[in-house]
Symmetry: C2
Subunit: 301 residues, 2 copies
Amino acid sequence: MHDVIIIGGGPAGLTAGLYSGRANLKTLIIEKKALGGQAATTYNIENYPGYISIAGPDLTMKMEEQVKRYNVEITYGEITSVDLNSNPKKIVVGNKEYETKVVILAMGAYPREIGLESEQKLRGMGVSYCATCDGAFFNGRTVAVVGGGNTAIEDATFLTRYAEKVYVIHRRNELRATKAEQDKAFKNPKIEFIWDSVVEEIKGNEFVEGAVIKNVKTGEKKELKLDGIFVAIGNVPDTEFVKGIINLDENGYILGDEEMRTNIPGVFAAGDVRKKSVRQLVTAMSDGAIAAINAEKYLSE
Amino acid sequence: MHDVIIIGGGPAGLTAGLYSGRANLKTLIIEKKALGGQAATTYNIENYPGYISIAGPDLTMKMEEQVKRYNVEITYGEITSVDLNSNPKKIVVGNKEYETKVVILAMGAYPREIGLESEQKLRGMGVSYCATCDGAFFNGRTVAVVGGGNTAIEDATFLTRYAEKVYVIHRRNELRATKAEQDKAFKNPKIEFIWDSVVEEIKGNEFVEGAVIKNVKTGEKKELKLDGIFVAIGNVPDTEFVKGIINLDENGYILGDEEMRTNIPGVFAAGDVRKKSVRQLVTAMSDGAIAAINAEKYLSE
């Protein structure tokens, strides 16, 4: 029987683990894939206070070492089912069932897809959702980034390290990215913006060869020759397994309060999986700390 | 004319500066004493994700270097007056007036006093509000910590590095500190707890010599021989100069929302100065990031 089970080992989950472990609570983190969440796939983090610059995997390793000092257990596997209303609460991972007094939901969010058949077909064959993971495969090639937010523009700038040419395909005529990121991208001679446009089809048999782009204002279509497409049009929270149990908003994000409480006593939510306006590394960590501190209060009541 | 003036250079203010500077906003941080706030006077920080252990001053120096990379100006001085309703807003520091479009209030909080005349008289002469600053003066001596929260108990443990004996004087019969901190203190043979008790008077002419302790349940008084007293009974927000301008709670903390907005458009509040339930390094930083991101949105509207 655990005191606290944290679902998700990204920055929110690891920080919750750090605080929970330091509070001498018997703590388990269940991670689906790899620790560090989206931060772990970030090439270079420059907005984390205290590190002028740090690679995502390095920060993740430090956090892993840190939580292990406080005897926090980490296990890997996908959640099969949960019973959050029972006492103790139950978390099933494959054929293993865990019991716990408190659950902290910190599953984060995963990249949103364009929704094309050709996108599915060529996924991993030139269609990518992670520039920092796959950028290096496109040395000297031509790629496109789809999107206009921070991630898209950061990705475009990052991809110019490898690619000869980077198109940014955005369905609006202005970016949502911060001014700093915009300025950097506008100044970069390798980046070309294609405004008011969406990807209608990704071309290629075994590997991406191009894309059909449609201007949403004029209806005009054109074909771009491409070697890769990076999709960066936002994220979807990983909350399927708590649907109907935990209150979610229309996009699937968990509705909680500033104390990280959900609609079920003893179940907290922290990080990108929550409905909130700012999703940064440090805000996810803050959520994790608050969730664990309130978990400890809940347990001592 | 600045885009953003941040009042206070603690973790919240420095993080707001980092985000504001990265957004290419003309940013000034005004600090009263020394950068880093309460974190800078913390000997050893072990709950900051990404550093297994870091000294407060080291973290502060790293953050200072980091904000300076983004051309954030830092100036030192005490606020004389502010005009937050004017356009532009005005901040007066001595005989210097600054104009700015946005203000981020990040003044933090300062230690609460017991409220004794003898406390005032012997301040700096054995009465201290910062164990990590002054602990080393009490090598081989006997000291008392007043309080029962996290800071008090951390201070008591820390002071055993130097002092031969550390009393913890607490007006209740249980601690508010986290279990981890309690366990550590209870196991430490140098620490003795005096429950249900308050300090009625601090004894000494030129330097602390002892204290009169009163048991609040029995009314019984006794005198302790002491060389130093560390007061750790909470903090008071540094909000005098915005009283009547910015909405405060009954303890002087700024009332804001999750987006760090105050009652005046273009004025944000971040960190310990806000009314909130959890005050940690990482939660103050998160506030700073959110305040700066929302400041940028406010400016681009």
